[in-house]
């Protein structure tokens, strides 16, 4: 049944539009039943989100692709347990949070001074602006990496990824109240750092830092 649906998925040089029209529920069902094409579409559709979210949650690291693959491995393995009453992206996001927190757990005893994840280059800016932005980015990256995983994921999911509090709570497996608190504490930490580092404050306000 689920397989039949996938005959509708165009092969080879399909256009993004037609894949995007494909309903989530069918895609998930077909993927769970092992349909390779459905899985491909599902990955193509969600990879930018997972890739970005993992990057924001753990920083850009050498084993970043491994982490992304781990997310999908876990996703496909437990796809059958996914209940249609949740949004698929929320469910997938919760796997991201899980994988990230496992990662942090494992890193805990091995934090080294240069273990600060690198944030990414800013798109569409001049090389000078990018270089200038790096100082601010480094501070932000360090700050994020120093937050507890709970604070960090709440901040990343709510403020950077733009999910509402309920969704963030669902993804993190915590209560709405705890999520509000975590976001607030993360916000206060960032504000405190900005008060200490004028570079950071300027970077945050202007998107660049002049030295």
């Amino acid at each position: 049944m689920a397989r039949m649906v996938l005959h509708a998925v165009p092969t080879g040089t399909h256009t993004r539009g037609s894949d995007d029209d494909y309903p989530w529920s069918e895609l998930v069902r077909a993927s769970a039943s092992g349909d390779e094409r459905a899985r491909r579409v599902l990955v193509e559709r969600t990879l930018p989100m997972v890739h970005r979210m993992m990057s924001r949650l753990v920083g850009r690291r050498a084993d970043h692709d491994d982490l992304v693959q781990t997310v999908y491995a876990r996703c496909f393995r437990s796809l059958q347990t996914f209940r249609g009453d949740a949004k698929f992206t929320t469910w997938l996001g919760s796997i991201c949070v899980n994988v990230a927190s496992t990662y942090w757990q494992q890193r805990k005893n091995h934090a080294s001074t240069d273990d600060v994840p690198e944030l990414m280059l800013v798109d569409g800016k001049s090389p000078e602006a990018q270089i200038a932005a790096r100082a601010g980015l480094r501070i932000v990256a360090r700050l994020l990496s120093e937050m507890t995983p709970a604070l960090r994921s709440a901040f990343v999911l709510h403020v950077l990824e733009g999910h509402d509090i309920d969704t963030v709570a669902a993804m993190s497996g915590t209560s709405v109240g705890a999520t509000y608190k975590a976001v607030e504490r993360a916000r206060q930490q960032l504000e405190a750092q900005a008060a200490k580092h004028p570079d950071l404050a300027r970077f945050l306000s202007e998107g660049s830092v002049r030295s």
């Binding site: 693959q69 091995h110 280059l121």
Partner: protein, 374 residues
């Protein structure tokens, strides 16, 4: 409508900025911001900060990179399909590593030497030397067909076909000494990256102390990829010792495969027995049971081999494998245990297996005829 306080606005500032507030809340926020300079400043500041942070934390994902990653993920999922559903993530990676271990593992070629006229002796399972005569014995029990395992892939298919062309033998006199304990004491500063740790081989296993099973696996994988099986074995053994659950069991199985491959049958047997004792529903149970049964048979420990043959017969998803196990069981009843009715049943069931190899069917048929004449 209750008016919002500063605390309310602070709490909901991001929801407000993202336009996520319900209509009445949005109105309350708006009203408060109109009359409160502090909250208005906070809101404005975070509007800017949020935009900067969002814009500057979008990683580059080139179409090439995305395509490569997608292909890897989809292939990975296909490989994992055959395995048990609720295995933890580490298990997936152990499986991949075991796949690699199997790909390089020399398969044990077990030859059932039928002697006609048959004396009441045990079946003899011998390792076929690479240079051995090409004469095909009347019954050839293949080693566990690698292509039927969950990680069947091109690499394994190659190994499998290469094997049928030129069988790889297990050395007749296998060293029985466990070669993997006590890695050398640290003589270097532990590097941070896994790739660098892998370069030190088994000497660096202590560098992963406190890390997760995935770190051990990564190193084991890269060592396997490099053909450094003995070194990889140390990391698999370490996973088995330091971690619990399916990951540990599967790592134990991987270390058993490497032991088989390097001719340490005793070590392999011990590990397979431990795997079977702990992994009650392990993905490799049927395969492990088959390997253990054949190793025990080879070591003439027939009584100990029979429960594992039973397990293969019960559990193996492969009909041809079940036929082989039934045939081997029948031979034991027939020649060792003098249980003729048991032998007949086993031979008949072997013949009834839909995918029994023709030579198994033929041999079973011959044996049945012999038994009925007695």
């Amino acid at each position: 409508m209750n008016a919002w306080t500063c605390a309310d606005v602070e709490r909901e500032v991001f929801g407000h900025l993202a336009g996520q507030l319900a209509e009445t809340d949005a109105l309350r926020a708006h009203v408060h911001l109109q009359g409160c300079a502090a909250c208005a400043a906070l809101s404005l500041q975070w509007d800017q900060w949020r935009t900067t942070l969002q814009a500057s934390s979008v990683p580059v994902l080139s179409p090439d990179h995305a395509a490569r990653l997608t292909a890897a993920i989809v292939a990975d999922a296909a490989r994992a399909d055959v395995s048990v559903e609720r295995a933890p993530v580490r298990t997936r990676r152990v499986r991949a590593a075991i796949g690699a271990a199997m790909a390089i593992a020399a398969a044990v070629l077990i030859v059932f030497v039928a002697r006609a006229p048959s004396p009441p002796s045990a079946p003899v399972l011998v390792a076929q030397e690479p240079s051995a005569s090409t004469a095909i014995p009347d019954v050839l029990l293949r080693p566990p067909p690698l292509v039927e395992t969950p990680f069947a892939g091109p690499a394994l298919a190659n190994v499998s076909s290469a094997r049928s062309a030129a069988p790889i033998a297990m050395p007749p006199h296998a060293p029985l000494v466990e070669a993997v304990d006590d890695p050398a004491p640290p003589r270097f500063v532990c590097p941070e990256s896994l790739a660098a740790i892998a370069k030190h081989g088994k000497r660096a296993v202590h560098c992963l102390e406190g890390r997760g099973a995935d770190a051990y696996l990564s190193v084991a994988e890269s060592l396997l990829a490099r053909g450094a099986r003995a070194d990889a074995e140390v990391y698999f053994v370490a996973i088995g010792e330091r971690f619990a659950g399916n990951a540990a069991a599967d790592a134990l199985y991987a270390s058993a495969l490497i032991a088989i491959d390097t001719g340490r049958e005793y070590v392999a047997r011990e590990r397979l027995e431990r795997y079977l004792a702990t992994a009650k529903d392990g993905a490799f149970r049927a395969d492990a049971a088959w390997r253990l049964a054949t190793l025990l048979t080879r070591a003439r420990q027939l009584q100990r081999a029979t429960p594992w043959l039973d397990e293969v017969i019960e559990r193996s998803p492969s009909s041809s494998r079940r036929a082989e196990a039934l045939f081997l069981l029948g031979s034991m009843y027939d020649r060792e245990l003098d249980n003729l009715s048991g032998a007949l049943v086993a031979y008949r069931r072997a013949m009834a297996e839909p995918s029994a190899a023709p030579e198994i069917k033929k041999a079973a048929e011959t044996r049945i005829a012999e038994l009925l004449q007695r």
